[in-house]
């Protein structure tokens, strides 16, 4: 670091105004070590400086919410004295540069967030987005990310039970690697990332600190991508799943023994973040001794030790009389645990290295008093041009059977079994339904209930209308959960957007957050936290606005759970909800015509909520045998997927006018689900539906999906099309 002062600040991605703000906070010029800490903590990734004003508008209250945004992860009450903890986070930029390690450390990072709340991590889900799989580079990214998740997730003994893999050229330069983790704890086990009690000892647990990941949050995650991206590879952290596994077990034992005052993880901004956040929350100071930090390389500079993002580390605060026992527990697991700091009176982080004071800063100024921006927003003109280009004007397909096969085989819709069979979805013996269905379900030990989890987000809808696209993401995630019979209870989110310094991107972001808020209020599913990933752009091109929603639901009686498969010959196929002529942003328009335009399907949040409640009631009263939501590919794809899963066909009699059949088949109108029931229960289903519109479509049976006067395709052929693996 030959630069100092303002020049150094600028090179660390701080602005000149932000530098002035640091000077006024400290009442003096910061030294280089302090500046490195501010640069990391005030990065977009850590400080949410561009998003905060919008995120504040989200609903976060609810009767089940134990801990909301601001903690490491959202905590919700699931009854029987138990809580579920969940969070979704991005690792987009590291994965674009180095897909295997980027994805692996993405898994490791979110798992430590869950662990920091005191919960045992019980499930992982990975919503992924890539460019089209027809280029070697996109396939390299896809293969690398899947293998990173597989290597890391499998090794730490947490089942990967769901997620998504979607493709669009918008993600070619900037793939999205979002990772969600769910944990379960008793109420007593809940931990807070808070340092309290003067004289208490702060232990650094886990791996040694090295030079990997320095500048991860500021250099990688908070700047746009360009042709020099490859040169950023040294900013990517390298993971060791074995270290993570023993760290998890050691921390859980520390919690079980009641040895902890507070627990935090080391993620973005490393030690700087752990000490400043825990001290700020506890309103205390901290004396930090950098010489005590175990290092991989002896000659590391203070700023390197403080901002290193070396993986597999945690930060535990213990009372002095418990320190030896805590260290002993860690030692038994093979986890180094070293006292590196003490909680101090006052409100200053006092950091020493080799006998001299290297930093003296108020923790609150790092963690909570960073800049907050109300960035300029402007609705872009191009969106009007795009929205006028209505896909209803696209040519009608001649052979709808062939069209359905083409959509079923399209990369977005096709089976992802070749991906998820590389993930261990069975470990911990609680997986009721793994990947491949609408939502994944895990049993909760010590309770009759099951947790249903789904992740969803449709970037094409977002591009056409960010507010409506975000509402669809929430609605689809809720539908997926409800199709298993579970009641949606709360969400987490990962908001993937372009450069917030561009007014059009900021407008997309604000619209999307508003949409999420509206939908979550309508569904009574509060936002428990989440993550914002900006600067997802390459050479000036932003990705489609892609808010990804992670929805958590509860099924009170896990034995009643449903899946999507058609079950019994003769069962009646029923469509819940109504189909409107809505092809904007549809898979039909994209897969068949490479068309993206028009407006996304309208969202009727009341109707969506009625559908969720109807599904939950139908499952609870055991009136239906299968349920599958209609989303990408519309009714046509939903019917095909139910048939493939059940290895049985269906004869569908009800159809629209022949010349509108493709619209009826492939419209992506919301608030719809395909269910089946016995002939005998049909009247009860009708009665239960009340005013909610339902249509009897036909009956389950035969070896093909036959839609009268429209198409007839053997189920075997549909399955074959769905399982065609992209060549690599």
């Amino acid at each position: 670091m030959s630069l100092t002062g303002r020049d150094l600040a600028l090179s660390l991605a701080l602005t000149s105004d932000e530098y002035d703000r640091i000077v006024s906070t400290l009442g003096r010029e910061p030294n280089n070590t302090e500046l490195a800490m501010y640069a990391a903590m005030w990065s977009e990734h850590c400080s949410y400086k561009s998003s905060k004003v919008h995120l504040k508008t989200l609903p976060t209250e609810g009767e089940r919410i134990v801990l909301g945004p601001g903690e490491n992860a959202g905590v919700v009450d699931i009854g029987d004295g138990l809580v579920a903890v969940f969070k979704l986070e991005s690792h987009n930029h590291p994965s674009a540069v180095e897909p295997v390690q980027g994805a692996a450390t993405g898994v490791g990072g979110i798992v430590r967030d869950i662990l920091a709340t005191g919960a045992r991590p019980v499930a992982i889900l990975d919503p992924l987005r890539f460019g089209d799989p027809d280029t070697w580079r996109n396939r390299w990214l896809l293969g690398g990310v899947v293998s990173g998740i597989s290597q890391y997730g499998n090794s730490i003994g947490i089942p990967t039970i769901g997620g998504e893999v979607k493709f669009d050229p918008t993600y070619a330069g900037n793939p999205l690697v979002n990772v969600m983790c769910v944990g379960i704890a008793t109420r007593e086990q809940i931990q807070h990332a808070t340092a309290t009690g003067e004289g208490n000892v702060c232990l650094l647990l886990g791996a040694k600190t090295g030079r990997d990941g320095i500048g991860g949050v500021s250099v990688l995650a908070s700047r746009p991508f360009d042709a020099e991206a490859e040169a950023k590879r040294p900013s990517v952290q390298v993971g060791d799943p074995f270290e993570e596994k023993i760290l998890i077990e050691a921390c859980l034992e520390l919690i079980d023994r009641g040895l902890l005052v507070g627990l935090g993880d080391l993620g973005g901004a490393g030690l700087s973040c752990a000490i400043s956040e825990t001290a700020s929350r506890g309103d205390v100071g901290m004396d930090v001794d950098l010489d005590a930090v175990p290092l991989r390389e002896a000659d590391m500079e203070p700023f390197e030790i403080l901002t290193s993002e070396s993986q597999e580390r945690m930060f535990a605060i213990v009372e002095p009389e418990h320190a030896d026992e805590a260290i002993e527990v860690c030692k038994r697991w093979g986890v180094p645990a070293v006292p590196v700091a003490r909680v101090a009176r006052g409100s200053l982080l006092t950091i020493r290295h080799r006998g001299s004071l290297v930093a003296s800063v108020p923790p609150r100024s790092l963690a909570d008093e960073g800049p907050v921006y109300e960035r300029p927003m402007a609705r872009p003109d191009w969106i009007d041009v795009l929205r006028k280009d209505d896909p209803l004007a696209l040519p009608r397909p001649v052979d709808l059977g062939a069209t359905l096969l083409e959509i079923v085989a399209s990369p977005n819709v096709a089976s992802k079994e070749w991906v998820w069979r590389q993930y261990d979805y069975l470990v911990q013996h609680n997986t009721l339904d793994g990947p491949g269905g609408d939502a994944a379900l895990i049993r909760v030990e010590g309770s009759d209930c099951a947790l249903a989890v789904s992740t969803d987000g449709n970037g094409r809808f977002g591009q056409l209308d960010p507010r409506v696209g975000a509402m669809h993401a929430v609605a689809e995630a809720a539908r997926n959960v409800a199709c298993t019979g579970a009641r949606p209870i709360a969400i987490t989110n990962c908001l993937n957007f372009g450069n917030p310094e561009r007014p059009d991107v900021m407008w997309q972001f604000a619209e999307a957050v508003a949409g999420i808020g509206e939908a979550c209020r309508a569904f009574d599913t509060p936002v428990t936290g989440g993550n914002v990933s900006f600067y997802n752009e390459t050479d000036g091109e932003s990705i489609h606005p892609t808010p990804v929603i992670g929805m958590l639901g509860i099924l009170d009686d896990s034995s009643k759970r449903l899946d999507i498969a058609f079950k019994n010959e003769g069962d009646v196929v029923v469509l819940l909800g109504e189909t409107f002529p809505e092809l904007g942003g549809s898979e039909f328009a994209w897969a068949i015509h490479r068309h993206l335009g028009g407006t996304p399907p309208e969202v009727d949040l009341d109707r969506e909520r009625e559908l969720q409640e109807l599904l939950v009631a139908l499952v609870d009263e055991m009136l239906i045998a299968s349920a599958h939501d209609c989303s990408e590919g519309g009714l046509g794809v939903a019917l095909a997927e139910c048939a493939i899963a059940g290895a049985v066909g269906a004869r569908i009699e009800a159809a629209a006018e022949a010349d509108e059949a493709h619209v009826w088949l492939f419209s992506e109108s919301g608030a719809r689900a395909v269910v089946t029931c016995s002939e005998r229960d049909l009247a009860k289903v009708r009665k239960r539906a009340g005013d909610f519109p339902i249509t009897v479509l036909g009956t389950v049976g035969g070896e093909s999906l036959a839609i009268e006067g429209v198409l007839e395709v053997p189920v075997e052929q549909l399955a074959e099309a769905s399982e065609r693996i992209p060549t690599s």
């Binding site: 597989s150 090794s155 074995f242 697991w333 590389q422 261990d424």
Partner: protein
């Protein structure tokens, strides 16, 4: 009657194995890798996972752990030892079973339900099965391709020590049924004394058809083990 399940650092399925054995009525407890005391258990299960990170080779470090210094003589004295997945790899590394488990032919981790046929039921782990029975049990491994040198393989085959093979649903052994490229579709083998058995599929993940792959066929193997332990006591 107690069955010990060894917990190595990096083991992932040890709690699953304890749970499965308890579901089947056994008393099961964890044994710590760093402790050479087997606490008087009547049988030992080496569970799945990535012991010691599976660095160097799968199971290569675990074989040197203190607990193994007791498991080896326990096995040599006729004690029942079941190795599942990583546990199978440890048994091969420890020389208690012949052969080795190398990287899957497809070079990727595979998690899936597979069918295996019981080639020989004359060992304590299969008293609840008939020869020719087909069991549906999940696999989940990246290095499960069984290999052994031809002479050893011939001896094992003659001696009935090839116990499980990956098969088609009708029990026929075919290349299409082989998920990892294992030699002759081998999924599980035992020692000549029949008291040490290793298998790549996970019976502990198939005892309750309500979870996982929807099969309870793993109970055949774990239940046989429990019967053997109870029978030895009676």
């Amino acid at each position: 009657m107690r069955i010990g399940v060894v917990q190595f650092p990096g083991s992932n399925d040890e709690r699953d194995a304890v749970w499965a054995l308890e579901q089947l009525g056994a008393d099961a407890e964890l044994l710590w890798h760093g402790d050479a005391d087997l606490r008087g258990v009547d049988a030992v299960v080496l569970p799945g996972g990535f012991s010691y990170g599976d660095y160097l080779r799968c199971g290569a470090i675990a074989r040197f752990s203190p607990v193994m210094s007791s498991v080896v003589p326990f096995a040599n004295d006729g004690g029942l030892v079941l190795g599942i997945c990583n546990g199978f790899q440890v048994l091969c590394e420890a020389g208690l079973l012949p052969g080795a488990l190398v990287r899957n032919a497809g070079l990727a981790f595979v998690c899936d339900a597979v069918d295996v046929v019981v080639e020989n039921n004359e060992l304590p782990f299969f008293t609840r099965a008939e020869a020719g029975d087909v069991l549906t049990i999940p696999i989940k491994h990246g290095e499960g391709r069984y290999v052994a040198d031809p002479a050893e393989l011939a001896r094992m085959s003659d001696d009935g020590r090839i116990v499980l093979r990956y098969c088609m649903p009708d029990g026929s052994v075919a290349p299409e049924a082989n998920p990892n490229g294992a030699l002759d579709n081998i999924a599980g083998v035992c020692n000549s004394a029949r008291n040490v058995f290793g298998m790549m599929p996970h019976p502990e993940h198939a005892v309750d058809a309500r979870v996982g792959i929807g099969s309870s066929d793993g109970a055949v193997i774990l239940g046989s083990l429990i019967d053997a332990v109870v029978g030895a006591e009676a």
